[in-house]
């Protein structure tokens, strides 16, 4: 589990047109620069927006990746809900916080 790097990649994709271009042209080389598990890599490649949500990606980052992969707003919300059904509750990050 390397939620930090999943989010970092998606954050940079949203912000940096050069990273975006490499994502299109050079996917494997680009992703090799981030510490990702095979599950995370696959979820990004597919994309499996629901699984990315369950892995803990913050919605404020995920919604832009979903839009970049041509998800309409309602499709994006539906994908997260389906993710919860298929993969169970969010595993890490803010939405899985256990408060002390």
């Amino acid at each position: 589990m390397s939620l930090y790097y999943v989010q970092k990649l998606l954050y940079q994709l949203n912000r940096d047109s050069y990273v975006r271009k490499r994502f299109d042209d050079d996917f494997d080389l680009l992703l090799a620069e981030y510490e990702l598990t095979p599950e995370e890599t696959e979820a990004i490649r597919k994309p499996d927006i629901g699984l990315l949500y369950v892995l803990g990606v913050n919605g404020q980052i995920l919604m832009h990746y979903a839009a970049m992969r041509d998800y309409e707003w309602d499709e994006y919300l539906a994908a997260m809900r389906k993710g919860l059904k298929d993969h169970g509750p969010v595993r890490a990050g803010l939405y899985a916080t256990v408060w002390e």
Partner: protein, 273 residues
């Protein structure tokens, strides 16, 4: 005294990006009050508009996350998001690096802030500007309070930042307007998007408008997350404005939950004496 205006507003991306899906009457009433705030800001003839916002991983990320950051550039790009998605055309927004620098130097006397000479506004600033300064005719000084990636600044420190900003503004000759922008309760970009806790919002706004300091500082993050969602963390922007305004009370121009905008839409002004 050179603080010439203080107000508060929402900034959710749906406000512009999903405009056509909202109830037209409610939407137009909200827009009208949003523009009223813009008119009042212009009437106050400020040399710059400080926007205290809470961006969403556009410039600041967990690799190097400032609790508070102030922009220090002569211009900013806005918006960072896809123009179609947000419904706002990309443009260059004027800033004032020299003025920013003088403010930052003064703020640092009593509050720790980072600064940024490069900044791409996300919807957190772009949506307010779309209504407040649609012609981009007032230089903007953006302030970001990290409300997204915990650990977050404690509420009383956000309040103290507002006080430090006030002291800084009082110490310069320029006329400064300040607007804070945050959601109140909302669950943005999650499966619960559209959920709004109106009772919680109204209670918070009552405390804010009447500037009851102890009461607006009494929320714990655990309570806020439970009752007001992740978006509730953005009350820090309101709290900073409350600190800026000292004991001044305000007037709520508009509040209504608009679920397709995913937030209780809010417009308020403070009465500076």
């Amino acid at each position: 005294m050179s603080l010439v205006y203080a107000g508060a507003c929402s900034h959710a991306p749906g406000i512009t990006g999903r405009a056509e899906r909202a109830d037209p009457e409610l939407r137009e009433s909200f827009y009208k009050n949003f523009r009223r705030l813009g008119q009042e800001i212009h009437d106050a003839k400020p040399d710059a508009l400080v926007i205290i916002g809470a961006e969403h991983f556009a410039n600041f990320f967990m690799d190097n996350m400032p609790a508070i950051c102030v922009g220090m550039a002569d211009h900013y790009e806005s918006p960072i998001e896809d123009e179609q998605w947000l419904g706002i055309q990309r443009t260059r927004v004027p800033g004032n690096a020299e003025l920013s620098r003088r403010l930052i130097e003064r703020i640092l006397q009593s509050s720790d802030v980072a600064y940024a000479e490069e900044w791409k506004f996300d919807h957190g600033v772009a949506v307010p500007l779309n209504f407040l300064t649609p012609d981009y005719d007032i230089p903007i000084i953006p302030v970001n309070i990290n409300c997204q990636g915990p650990p977050l600044i404690p509420l009383h420190r956000a309040y103290a930042f507002g006080q430090a900003l006030r002291t800084a503004i009082d110490g310069i000759p320029e006329r400064i307007a300040v607007v804070c922008t945050g959601g109140i309760s909302h669950w943005p970009a999650t499966p619960d998007s559209g959920k709004i806790n109106e009772a919680w919002d109204r209670e918070f706004l009552d405390r804010f408008i009447n500037n009851r300091r102890d009461e607006i500082l009494s929320y714990t993050d655990e309570e806020t997350y439970r009752d007001a969602g992740q978006g509730g963390f953005e009350i820090r922007t309101f709290i900073a404005l409350a600190g800026l305004c000292g004991g001044a009370t305000g007037e709520l121009y508009f509040y209504a939950p608009i679920p397709i905008f995913a937030v209780g839409c809010t417009v308020a002004r403070m009465n500076l004496s």
